[in-house]
Subunit: 169 residues, 2 copies
DNA sequence: TTGGAATGTCAACAAGGCTGACTTAAAATC
DNA sequence: GATTTTAAGTCAGCCTTGTTGACATTCCAA
């Protein structure tokens, strides 16, 4: 593939984008992701936590009572890797793991007050930047942004994403 | 901040986005970035390289003859970290480091034929997914996508990005 | 000529991924 | 009721990729 978009006869939804233009999108993702994580990273560093802790806290906040295996499938890491992070969060009183009522093998995860406070400070920082970016880009841009990102996901991850965010996108 | 957008009197460029909606954008970034790196990661794994090598190869391709310190500032890592990666690429004949003509302290970095081949296979994979996402999202979405990403970058990184991509966005 | 910049390198360390092996408890199934 | 499967946790060890700190070399520029 050298310049797919300039080849005629590629179907009705053809976009006339050169490889160079697509490449710019790739670099935009790279640089933007750095910005995306910069604010939480600064907060986490002070507390001796990392991005892995952030992700766990985020999704526990998002789905209170979620099980360990559910979290594993969302985060896409091994249980050993998640366990290291989760143990730290539990030991330090940010997360509570309750034994399941129906199925006692399961652990249901909840943020404690302290955990919720950390989550709030992390997501406030991240949302502030996000909101500023939306404002700078304008109302029309937001929808396109989300559409492209969604289309970029692996189908499996897209399902997870849609399940999480369903109800009033 | 609980719901900035619903508070009246926030200025003329106000976007009526709830915290929940902004949060979905955050999750979209998270899941999309996984997809974004998935294809190159698969290729790299076979060759015993990692994302760090990919980034170096990408930006050397992008700016042939770039110096080590310029690459450092783009990648935002320490020279020790970059050096490890660069040494591997040079030792294995993917990158060539030429001593500067004017300033002999500088090393100018170039991809060899083998390096260019790897770069091509990585970026083909990544561009294919990107192009598919653009196609799925539609023409209008692409501009919004880029605008939001650009607005999300740290100002310093945005300058780097714009310098790289200037001339026909 | 001397100070500082660009580069490279050594050593040591940490976070956060991974695999593999194994245990425990409880649910599910035969 | 016995067996198998599932959910979770744990131990050990490995890899990549980031970090600091110290130090050497080379060479431009004031």
């Amino acid at each position: 593939m050298t310049n797919g978009a300039s080849t005629p006869g590629m179907g009705e939804t053809l976009l006339f984008l050169t490889d160079e233009q697509v490449r710019k999108g790739i670099e935009a993702m790279f640089f933007a992701y750095r910005g995306f994580t910069a604010d939480p990273d600064r907060i986490l560093e002070k507390m001796d936590y990392g991005r892995a802790h952030h992700r766990a806290v985020h999704f526990i906040h998002r789905s209170p009572g979620t099980t360990v295996s559910n979290l594993l499938s969302i985060l896409g890491v091994t249980k050993q890797s998640l366990n290291r992070v989760l143990r730290a969060l539990i030991d330090e009183g940010l997360v509570e793991a309750r034994v399941g009522r129906r199925d006692k093998r399961e652990r249901h995860l909840y943020l404690t007050a302290a955990g919720a406070e950390l989550e709030r400070s992390l997501s406030d920082a991240q949302r502030t930047r996000m909101r500023a970016a939306y404002r700078a880009a304008g109302p029309g841009a937001v929808q396109g942004f989300r559409q492209v990102l969604e289309a970029m996901m692996d189908p499996e991850l897209r399902k997870q994403y849609q399940k999480l965010t369903e109800g009033g996108a």
